[in-house]
């Protein structure tokens, strides 16, 4: 009898804990103008990264899937690598995130990812591997690419498209308004970010 009560109590507690966890995740959703939710993720070298480790720095999150033609537009042209080189040289922490589930397009092992980064001359600070989609769901990332810019105070200052030309065509990059560079330049100059959110364009993130 007592045993059954204990089991019931345990079940109730579990349910409560689950509701609380759910409430917390909902409260922590990524929203422009709000504190970006903290996360812990592992990169392609086995290093652990926490957003809170980078307090005091600008952080860019770039959702990626190398098989996606919208991502390829920005890598085959060298656009994404240029942005990574340019902004990391200015002290920005640039984290790519691969949220494709195993078996889906864009799923990468650590070794694959390191070989690819080298071959593509990519220069993110780190490449985060998120095969369970935990980080993707936390930020509600929808497409590849999907971009987030977080300021040194930990506030999300930009969310969405990489630029204003939704296409797979690399020739559209020249003359495009790059929203990530705009947000970083404006924020670093102490100005308000003129475009704080834009509908991202790309392939769907290949969640489990």
């Amino acid at each position: 009898m007592e045993d059954r009560i204990m089991k019931k109590a345990a079940a109730v507690l579990m349910a409560l804990a689950f509701c609380l966890a759910l409430a917390l995740t909902q409260a922590q959703a990524a929203r422009v103008g709000k504190h970006a939710p903290d996360f812990t993720a592992t990169d392609s070298n086995g290093q652990i990264h926490k957003l809170s480790d980078y307090a005091g720095k600008y952080v860019v999150l770039e959702w990626t899937n190398r098989g996606c033609p919208y991502t390829q537009k920005h890598y085959s042209s060298g656009n994404m690598q240029n942005l990574q080189h340019e902004w990391t040289a200015k002290g920005v922490v640039w984290l790519t995130v691969a949220s494709s589930a195993p078996g889906e397009q864009g799923y990468v092992t650590a070794a694959d990812e390191n070989a690819y980064l080298k071959q593509a001359n990519a220069a993110p600070t780190a490449a985060l591997l998120d095969p369970n989609g935990t980080l993707g769901h936390l930020y509600n990332a929808k497409t590849t690419p999907d971009m987030y810019v977080i300021n040194p105070q930990g506030v999300l200052i930009y969310q969405g498209a990489i630029d204003d030309r939704p296409s797979t065509d690399p020739s559209d990059i020249r003359g495009a308004k790059n929203y990530v560079s705009m947000a970083l330049s404006e924020a670093m100059a102490g100005k308000p970010v003129s475009v704080a959110a834009a509908q991202p364009y790309g392939c769907s993130v290949k969640y489990r």
Binding site: G67, P69, V205
Partner: protein, 260 residues
Amino acid sequence: MAAASAQDKAPAENGPAKLQLVAEEAAYQPGVPLWVGVIFRIDPGWHIYWQNPGDSGTPPKIIWRLPKGFRVGTVRWPLPVRLGKAPVIDYGYQGQVLLMAPVLSPVNSIAPAAITADVEYVVCSGVCIPAKTQLTLTVPPLPGRTEHPSPSSPLFEATRKQFPRPMPDSWDVSAELSRKGFLLTVNGVTPKQNVTFFPLDTGLIDNAAPQTQSAIDDGFTLTLPKSDLLTRYPRNLHGVVDIPGMGAFEIEAPVTAPPR
């Protein structure tokens, strides 16, 4: 990017969508609109996108080339379907779709209408394949008032039935925007089944969120949770309401703050 370059360059004919440029009439009457369109025949499991693609993808782009003096109107988009799974919901087409536009010729035209359509589109299943193709069609002139249906004529007629219609004058629409999202109110129609709202503007509603419908006196309301990307106050909630059994209607609901 060697791994995926083979996909990039896949010619349209070998891809999951087969395209064909067609006209509604076998001959055109100078000065009278001739409807032309691109048929997309899409393999099972694949889709292309609506004018608002939703969370991912991009709509097909058609660039028309016409003889001097000819003009072309905008493409008309049939009602799409919801695709994908939360959190990524798209709007698009599966199977077969015709995207049509009217071509207007000069009244004194005597030359055959050589029409070229440069089509750029992305077709997706689990993966996406971009494609670019050039389609051509020549339609001879035939002065006079008679119609000369082409073999594609029935498809044009059938596709028109899938166009969202203008909202009836007897309807009244409005939308309240609160912290959670939009409450769309439509007066003048009482649907028997569940209505679906398709936004025509991006970044307004959370495409993946459930749309909750309630009956009110002489109408219905629909709650539409807002998008994470909504940072400005929109003037209108512009979209299409699909009412099973009645059809799809384009609405532009003025957005207001909820009453205090």
